[in-house]
Amino acid sequence: MSMMEFKAVCKDYRKKTALSGVSFTVAKGSIYGLLGRNGAGKTTLVNMADNRDFPTSGQVLLDGENIKENDKALRRIYCSGVEELIPTYMSVKEVLASMRFFYKDCDADYATELCKRFGLDPKKKLSQLSTGYRMIAKDIFALASGAEFIFMDEPTLGLDPNHRELLYKVILERFSETEAAFVISTHQIDECAGLFERCLIIKEGQLIANEDSDKLRRSAYVAEGKTVDVEAYIAGKEVLSCESVGSFSTACVKGEPQNVPDSIEISQPSLQQLLIALTGGGE
């Protein structure tokens, strides 16, 4: 099975280190969630996947070959993002036609079908589309690209709930048909949680988790009770976050609950709650 490998990828900008030594692999036949806070390095990482940006050190490999200025490899990778890289005077149809020069397996018929399902007029110029529809157009380019490794950076940005639902369905359809690897960065975590087989969590330029979604969710638990009881219970444990309201406290604790006293109630966090705890709370 083909795979992409990010090997100790670092990216330094003049004033800031965006990525410091990020390593992971992306295999065909899996959908990955790329999660993290604003500015954590998700977009920088996606940009490394198709030569929009280059690592300061480290490598990105496809089946063992460095993808840097490697057209053969790059034809198998498609990245769509929030930034405007496609000229907006082009119509959806024109973009698709031009994509075929690079992406030989780009499927225009399939793209037309998707346009119909999303209610997007392919004759419209990108500049004529609303924010939501411009995003949908980019999502359609990614889905129809025929690439084996598809990176989608915040594909639901600006989409209404109906379109988000449809997008999730379409991604799963395409995934079942093509077995392409999908790497999806998003902040709609609870909505997307079921979509991801694995989650990659980035915090301040570092990969802090690369785990099966279910296992990740069960890697921590929530303990709730009177503050005195909670404080006594969590003493000496790895506490990810703790918040109090009145005389009660809720703590998110790593590991599995053991020897829980009656005064403490235990529950499972959602993926979103866990992510917030792992990446530094809400404030």
Partner: protein
Amino acid sequence: MGANYPSFNDTEPLYIQIAQWLEDKIVTGQLGTDEQIPSTTELSQRLRINPATVRKGVTILVDKGLVYKKRGMGMYVAENANKNVRDDRRVKFYDDYIKPLIAEAERLGISPEDIIDMLKGGDGK
């Protein structure tokens, strides 16, 4: 979890909830004996859940002998599936329903007699 029909909860692993959802269909007869259950692909798209997770859920039913595989055709509901799920759930009925009921009744100070009265259709007052 907004993206899923039905709404699955955050408490239990998704694949277990998928298995329970399919078992519900068997208990209520929506999926009858020898009837085909939807494919992993169909379920994945319908539930907006990764096929790997769906497969894990269906495997639970296979392991319990509730569904059987027809080569190249898909999965079908086994003959005694309905009875087996019901038997299985009867065993768990005490833990799943009675225990939390007793716990809540104790918190509220509802006596066992009142509970019995309610079960028989009274209002417990």
